[in-house]
């Protein structure tokens, strides 16, 4: 049975589909979304409304610059949407480089060549798909919550202020609902775009990790004698000469396999560096926005009681931020750990039965691979679980300190 060739880009189909549908990106090669005019129209619309939304918030910030309380409330929304806007810019302005990355992924080195490769790629694709769906569900839930809260507050008689500038009065009944709908739809759309773009960037890193896993499997199979087929004969001399000849062929094959592995690793390193540089600025902005949001949320939560609606919405928002940071740090760590194990895989290959000449080649590769691939944000902050823990520790310390002084 001839297995259908499994392409590397299968893992990215749902992501690019979602981006195209949401109007955030043009239709890329892996998508199955085939309506280019609709997509172009969506994109124009999305750009217009996103810019409008951000401008409205900015105008209001300038208007109420005297009241710190109001500024903090508006900045919560504005900084997140600016963050999303930054990512949208990165994706759209650098779409040629993204195309190049996709071409590399379609190339020879990144393709699956045996059963094991296909299995781990499928595993990876499934994990990415699940994460994307999970985040979409979370986003839509949050969107509904954000719509309900102002309605509930209004029904309770409280004065609901919007965080955007409107040139007309929004307290009256039909205007209020329309404006609320506008705000909710736009914020849900931006959250959808934000989350999908995050998942796409994470999918790139996860693909690099999968490629390293495939490389490790290839390295472990280097020189393994079981792969050699020999004819069974009774005569020991004949059998040994078969083995000898097969081994000589294998010797040539080992060299070409090693060369393939070396090139494969170089491509993976290039891939990771390219992804890092394409999304570098967007990630830096994201990180600082996240740090600011966490500090401000902690600052606000300290004074509130556990059962107020505001506490719940702050809590949910904080949870979203932490979850966003978590997938980056988790997959960054996965990539780092896999790349640290490349040397071990080379060590576990059958290097003992090769000539010192071949061993020296393997040694050069081992030297190069001893430096792990650590994706970084802003050139200094590594995306690893240690970073995540130190962020959590610092926010907890801040919270404890502020609580004590309260």
């Amino acid at each position: 049975m001839e297995p259908k060739t499994y392409t590397t880009l299968e893992a990215f189909k749902p992501h690019f589909n979602a981006l195209a549908r949401g109007g955030y990106l043009k239709i890329m090669k892996p998508t199955s979304f085939k309506k280019p005019y609709f997509n172009a129209f969506c994109r124009v619309l999305v750009w217009f409304f996103v810019v409008l939304y951000n401008l409205q918030h900015l105008i209001l910030v300038i208007q109420v610059r005297r009241s710190t309380e109001r500024i903090v409330d508006i900045l919560f929304i504005l900084l997140t949407t600016l963050n999303t806007f930054g990512k949208q810019l990165a994706f759209n302005l650098r779409v040629h480089r993204i195309d190049k990355i996709i071409d590399v992924m379609n190339g020879v080195y990144f393709a699956a060549t045996n059963r094991y490769h296909v299995d781990i790629m499928k595993e990876n694709a499934l994990a990415m798909y699940r994460i994307l769906r999970l985040y979409h569900v979370a986003i839509f839930t949050c969107g509904i919550l954000w719509t309900i809260f102002p309605l509930v507050n209004r029904a309770l008689g409280e004065n609901v202020q919007f965080t955007a500038y409107f040139p007309f009065d929004t307290a009256e009944s039909p205007t209020f609902e329309i404006v609320l709908a506008y705000m909710s739809i736009l914020i849900t759309l931006q959250a959808y775009g934000n989350v999908t773009m995050d998942c796409t960037i994470v999918a790139f890193y996860s693909q690099a990790k999968t490629q390293i896993k495939m490389l490790r499997y290839d390295l472990e199979q280097l020189g393994k004698i079981d792969n050699i087929e020999t004819k069974f004969t009774e005569n020991i001399f004949e059998r040994s000469s078969h083995i000898w000849k097969a081994l000589k062929d294998e010797k040539i094959k080992i060299h070409s396999k090693l060369v393939f592995c070396v090139e494969h690793y170089r491509q993976i390193v290039w891939f990771v560096k390219e992804v890092e540089s394409i999304f570098g600025e967007a990630m830096t902005v994201q990180f600082f926005v996240m740090a600011w949001v966490i500090c401000m949320t902690v600052y606000k939560i300290v004074g509130l009681s556990i059962y107020s609606a505001e506490f719940v919405s702050m809590g949910v928002y904080l949870g979203c931020m932490l979850a966003q940071l978590f997938i980056y740090c988790y997959y960054g760590t996965q990539l780092k750990v896999e790349s640290e194990s490349v040397n071990t895989s080379l060590y576990c290959s059958n290097w003992l039965s090769s000539l010192p000449k071949v061993r020296r080649q393997m040694l050069i590769m081992m030297q190069y691979c001893s430096k792990p691939l650590t994706p970084r944000t802003a050139y200094v902050i590594p995306m690893s679980l240690e970073t995540y823990i130190s962020v959590l520790k610092s926010s907890y310390s801040l919270f404890t300190l502020l609580n004590q002084k309260h």
Binding site: S240, V337, N343, T344, E386
Partner: protein
């Protein structure tokens, strides 16, 4: 009582620990001689009974905590106790869900290679690791029993009261509570009489078994690490004779003891016949068969000098090459073992550190309220020492593994590699490259288990304590 079960590898070494684990109620159902349905059912009932008893008591303690949640002092003390015993519940559940990977790690060392030159060294280090594992087991069992005894003894000192803050006068009143080691809610009266005795005995059982559950699993983990470290010691010890042996192949070396020992310990002077494939006396791995013929040695090696200057027999040459092969295969086996240990126990370590961090934070807060040598001081310090001791227990062994695995490079460098053949030199190169990165155990990739971790935990506790003292 029961017939001896045939075991091999790590299971043989760890049998006392495994038996204790089974006795304490972990869901460990393998490694019995008698696997008839009736006996298995009895064992499952035994473990489930323990699990139920311990979980029920834990829930009683939780109910007590919920009852007194308005009192800050009571709440903090009860939270610490509840978190303290959370370790046992977590480890019990962790083992139950992960027993397959435990069995897999225990089976990793079932087939190990051997070499006639190095069996003596192998046996010696194996013996050392065995005695270290025993000593660790006795120590931890002793400490557990000592903790239970001191806990129960401490119960009889001081006033057995609860501190309740009176709402009107805003001062702390004392409310009489039963004189029991742990504060828990029972559906029957426990101030005196039958209920009191029953609750006391139940609590002693709970203390002993829950501490045993948690500590014994840590002992298994540390025993694995001890084993891996002693294997690495063995590998370091045989590096020098190995290099001397391989040096003998290409360069002239005066009579080294090894050469003579090689020829004298050979019981059969059988040179491998072209037709006769029976050389099992020398080799234990199938792949070595490819090396036997033509006398030139290794599978892909085509050394131009068919004759070596020392005039070793073909068998001696093969012995030397197979010695290197033994070393590398043994080292790869150790790498596999350590990877398996990390996969099996990493998540448990993560949960342990999580719970311990929260416990230590609260203990730092409690410690600021110590105002003299009294029961409160002893119990707080006892909790602190025990929790830090648990963390120290696995950190020290994790650290030893890191040190041993990175010192292999030193051993490789300090043998006389410059006299070795090209093969030997590239072997040393690759080994050095591999051992530059130390073998670490990571808690599900969040942190590495080493003394750095312990130092950071200790530092954090001391910092919290200092800050809280200042804020008072």
């Amino acid at each position: 009582m029961m017939t001896k079960v045939k075991t091999q590898g790590l299971v043989t070494d760890l049998m006392p620990c495994i038996r204790l684990l089974q006795a304490a109620g972990h869901f460990l159902f393998n490694y019995h001689a008698d696997t008839s349905g009736m006996n298995m059912l009895l064992r499952k009932i035994y473990s489930s009974a323990h699990a139920v008893l311990i979980v029920v008591h834990y829930i009683c303690m939780g109910i007590n905590m919920a009852q007194y949640k308005d009192e800050v002092n009571e709440l903090t003390a009860n939270t610490i106790t509840v978190l303290f015993f959370a370790h046992s519940i977590i480890k019990l559940a962790f083992f139950a869900f992960n027993s397959k990977s435990f069995y897999r790690t225990l089976a990793v060392w079932n087939q190990s290679n051997s070499h006639p030159l190095f069996t003596e060294s192998d046996a010696r280090y194996h013996q050392i690791s065995l005695s270290k594992m025993r000593r660790l087991l006795y120590f931890i069992c002793g400490m557990t029993v000592f903790s239970v005894i001191s806990w129960v003894t401490l119960t009889f000192f001081g006033e057995s009261v609860r501190m309740i803050a009176s709402k009107e006068t805003n001062e702390t009143l004392t409310e009489p509570a039963p004189r029991l080691p742990l504060k828990a809610w029972y559906p029957f009266k426990t101030m005196s009489g039958g209920g009191y005795v029953f609750a006391f005995i139940y609590q002693i059982y709970f203390l002993l078994f829950s501490m045993a559950l948690a500590n014994l699993l840590d002992v298994i983990f540390c025993s694995w690490l001890i084993f891996a470290c002693e294997q690495l010691q063995h590998l370091k010890a045989i590096m020098k004779p190995l290099m001397e042996l391989s040096a003998a192949l290409d360069t002239y070396r005066p009579n080294t003891a090894e050469l003579f020992r090689v020829s004298s310990t050979d019981k059969t002077e059988k040179v491998p016949d072209a037709v006769d494939m029976d050389i099992r006396g020398i080799y234990s791995t199938q792949q070595d068969f490819g090396m036997t013929l033509r006398g030139a040695g290794g599978k892909l090696q085509n050394f131009n000098a068919e004759n070596n200057p020392n005039g070793l027999t073909a068998k001696q040459e093969m012995l030397a090459r197979s010695a290197i092969k033994y070393w590398v295969e043994r080292h790869k086996h150790v790498v596999r073992l350590v990877a398996s240990i990390g996969d099996t126990y990493g998540t448990a370590l993560l949960f342990h550190m999580l719970v311990s961090t929260i416990t230590l934070t609260l203990l730092a807060y409690q410690a600021t309220k110590i105002n003299g040598i009294n029961v409160y001081a002893f119990s707080t310090i006892g909790y602190l020492v025990y929790t830090l001791g648990q963390v120290f227990h696995f950190c020290i062994f994790g650290n030893r593994l890191i040190e041993e695995s990175s010192s292999v490079m030193e051993a490789a460098y300090s043998c006389q590699w410059y006299d070795g053949s090209e093969e030997a030199k590239t072997f040393v190169q690759i080994v050095c490259q591999q051992c530059q990165k130390a073998m670490t155990i990571s808690g599900a990739k969040f942190f590495n288990v080493s003394l750095d971790l312990f130092a950071s935990v200790l530092g954090a506790v001391v910092t919290y304590f200092m800050v809280l003292i200042q804020l008072k």
